[in-house]
C-alpha cells in the first residue's frame, strides 16, 4: 500500500513537472508573450526595459528562470503576477478555491442526481416517448454552450424578467461566502449550479442509459428478474451498480477539471471569483505566474481524481481488484 502510494506520488510529480515545463516553454516560444514590455508599460524606453528585465530575471537562461519560478511557486510560495504587480499568486488561488468548490460541489450534486434519475427513468421506460424525450433533452443540454446559456439566463433573470415574481428573488451576480450568509450563498449559487450542471446531466444521463440498457442484455439481469425482485431493485442494485464504470470515469475527469478551474466560463458569466475565473484571467492576460499556479493546482486535482477513480473502480467492481 505504501509502495503504491509512493509510486503514485512519484508519478504525480512527474505529471506536474511535464505540465509545468510544457507551459513554460510554450509561453516563452510565443512571439509577443515576453512579459518585459508588458510589465514595463507602453512606450517604455530601452533602459526601462533593461531594468525590468533584470528585476524580474528575464535576462537569465530559461532553465534558471524555470527553477526560480518553481522554487517561488512551491517552496517560498511568494511568486508574484506579471500583470497585477505584487500580487502573490499562491494565496490568490487559495482564496479563490472556496468559491469554485461551492460552485462545483453544488453542481455535481445536481448533475449526479439528475443524470441518475434521467438515465434510470429512461432505461425503465426504454423505447417509450419519455425515454426519447429525455434523451433529446440531454442532447439539447450538451449542445448549448455554457457561456451562451449563462448569458441567456442572466438576460432573463437579471434583466428582462428581473422584476417579475419569478425572478425577483435572484440576487445580483457575484459571490457570497457560505460562512457569511448561508441563505445568500445558496441564492447566488443556485442558478450557476444548474447552468453548469445542464451539460453534464446531458452527457451522464445518456451515457448511463446506454450502459444500463446494455446491462439489461446481460444474463445476471435476467437472473435478478428471475429472483422475483422488484423492477426498481433490479435496476438500481444490479443494473446501476454494474453500469457505473463509464459514469465514474467521466465524473472523475470532469469533477477534477472543474474543481481545478475548468468551470471558467460559468464563473466568468456569473461573476464568481473562483479558480476558473482566475485561470481565465491568467490566460487572457497571458500572465505566466498565475497560469502556472492555476495549472499546477488543477493538475493536482486531475491526478488526485484519477487516483480516486482507480480506487472507486475497485470498490465498484471486485474483478478489477483481483486484476492487481
Amino acid at each position: 500500500m505504501a509502495m503504491a502510494l509512493l509510486r503514485r506520488l512519484g508519478q504525480t510529480v512527474l505529471v506536474l513537472f511535464g505540465i509545468s515545463v510544457l507551459v513554460f516553454l510554450v509561453f516563452f516560444a510565443t512571439p509577443g508573450a515576453d512579459p518585459t514590455a508588458r510589465i514595463a508599460g507602453r512606450n517604455a524606453s530601452p533602459e526601462t526595459m533593461a531594468l525590468i528585465r533584470h528585476q524580474y530575471g528575464f535576462d537569465r537562461p530559461l532553465p534558471v528562470q524555470y527553477e526560480r519560478m518553481m522554487v517561488s511557486l512551491f517552496v517560498t510560495r511568494d511568486l508574484t503576477s506579471f500583470v497585477d504587480h505584487g500580487e502573490r499568486v499562491v494565496p490568490e488561488v487559495f482564496r479563490a478555491a472556496p468559491v469554485t468548490l461551492s460552485l462545483v460541489f453544488g453542481a455535481a450534486i445536481v448533475w449526479v442526481l439528475a443524470s441518475i434519475g434521467m438515465g434510470t427513468l429512461a432505461t425503465a421506460l426504454r423505447g417509450s416517448l419519455v425515454d426519447r424525450g429525455l434523451m433529446i433533452l440531454g442532447l439539447i443540454g450538451i449542445s448549448m454552450p455554457v457561456f451562451w446559456l449563462g448569458e441567456v439566463i442572466n438576460l432573463v433573470t437579471q434583466s428582462r424578467m428581473h422584476d417579475s415574481w419569478m425572478f425577483s428573488w435572484v440576487p445580483g451576480l457575484g459571490y457570497v461566502p457560505l460562512t457569511q450568509d448561508p441563505v445568500g450563498w445558496f441564492k447566488v449559487l443556485v442558478i450557476p449550479w444548474i447552468t453548469l450542471a445542464i451539460l453534464f446531466i446531458g452527457i451522464y444521463g445518456r451515457v448511463l442509459r446506454a450502459d444500463l440498457v446494455a446491462a439489461y442484455s446481460e444474463d445476471f439481469m435476467r437472473t435478478a428478474q428471475a429472483k422475483g425482485l422488484s423492477a426498481s431493485r433490479v435496476l438500481f442494485r444490479h443494473g446501476l451498480r454494474t453500469s457505473m464504470i463509464t459514469f465514474v470515469s467521466l465524473f472523475g475527469l470532469d469533477f477534477a477539471q472543474l474543481v481545478g478551474g475548468g468551470a471558467l466560463l460559468t464563473e466568468v458569466v456569473f461573476g464568481l471569483q473562483g479558480v476558473g475565473r482566475l485561470t481565465y484571467q491568467a490566460l487572457s492576460n497571458l500572465d505566466l505566474p498565475l497560469i502556472m499556479a492555476t495549472v499546477m493546482y488543477s493538475a493536482v486535482f486531475v491526478v488526485l481524481a484519477n487516483a480516486l477513480v482507480d480506487i472507486l473502480y475497485v470498490l465498484l467492481d471486485p474483478r478489477v481488484r483481483d486484476a492487481g
Binding site: V15, L139, M144, P145, A210, I245, I291, V302
Partner: protein, 336 residues
Amino acid sequence: MSATHPATRRSGPWTTAMTTLLRDRAAMIALAGLLLIIAACVLAPVYAEDIAHTDPFQSDVAATVMVHGQELAVMQPNDNPLHLGLTPLAPTWHPSAYLLGADSQGRDVMARLLYGGRNSLLISAAATVLCILMAAFVGIVSGFFGGVVDAALSRLMDIMWAIPVYLFAISLSIVTISQGLRIGPFTIRSDNLLLPIGIIALVYVPYAARPIRGRVLTLRRSEFVLAARGLGVPRGRILLRDILPNVSSTLIVLAPLLMALAMLAESALSFLSIGVQAPAASWGTIIQDGQGLIYTRPMVAIAPGLAIVLTVLALNILGDGLRDALDVRETSRRRG
C-alpha cells in the same frame, strides 16, 4: 455461446446489419434528416445566390433590403437622442431575404448558417473519428496491458487533460500568423482545417480514453477473455474479437457527444484565428457572433445552436440504430 455462430454464418453479417438498419424507422428518419442537413449545406451557394440574393461573406452597413414590400435597412440605427448603437435586422421569416435576420456585420444569418454547416460538419466529424480512434487505442492498450504501460499512458492522459489548451491555441495562433506551422517539409497555414481537427481530437482523447480503459479493466478479468487467454488465443485477436466489440457501445454513445463538443470547441479556436477564418463561417463562430447580440438579436446565436442539436440528434439516433444492427451478440442472445 454456441448459439452465436450458426446465426452469424447464415447470411453475411453486413447484409443482416443493413436489412436490420433499413427496417429501423427512427434510424431512417434520422438518416433522412442528416442527409437533408448535409444537402442544405452543400447547396448553400444556391440558396445565397438564387434565393436570398446575398453574399454572406461581405459585410455591409449601408445595405437595404425589400421585405414584404417595405425597404428596410439591414443595419438599423437606434432612434435614441445619443445616436448610439446599431441593430441588425431582425428575422424576416421570409426566405428571399434575411430569413433569420442579419448578424453584427449586416450579413444574412441563414446563408451563413448553411455555409457554416460545411465547416462544422467536416471539422467535428473528422475530429470525432480521430479522437475516438486514438482514445480507443489508448484506452484499450492501457486497460488491457496494465502495469507500466497503463501507468505511463494514464499519466500522459493526465498531462493532456490538465494542460491549458487555450494557452497552446494562443501560442499556435501567434506562431502561425505569417509563415504557418512548419512540421518537417510541410507547412500548415493557420487556416488549414487540420489544425482544429487535430487539436480538438487530441483534447478529448483523455476524456474518451478513460472510460474505455475502465471498461477494459473489467473485461480483462471477465470469463470469456480469461477463457480465450487460457486457450492460447493471441492477444491481438482477443483485443479485436472480444474487447473491441464490448467497448463499442461506450464509443457509440460518446461519439455524438464529442461531435457536439467539437462544434463548440472549434469556435474558440476560430476566435483565435485557428481553423475557420473570417469571413468564412462555422456554426460555432456564428454562435460566437451571436453572443455579442444576445440582448438584441438572440436568433443569431439560437439558430446555429439548433442546427447543432438537430445534427447531433440525428447522428445519435442513427448511431443507436447502427449499434442495434451490428450487435449480433445482443440479438442472438435474446433469441437464445
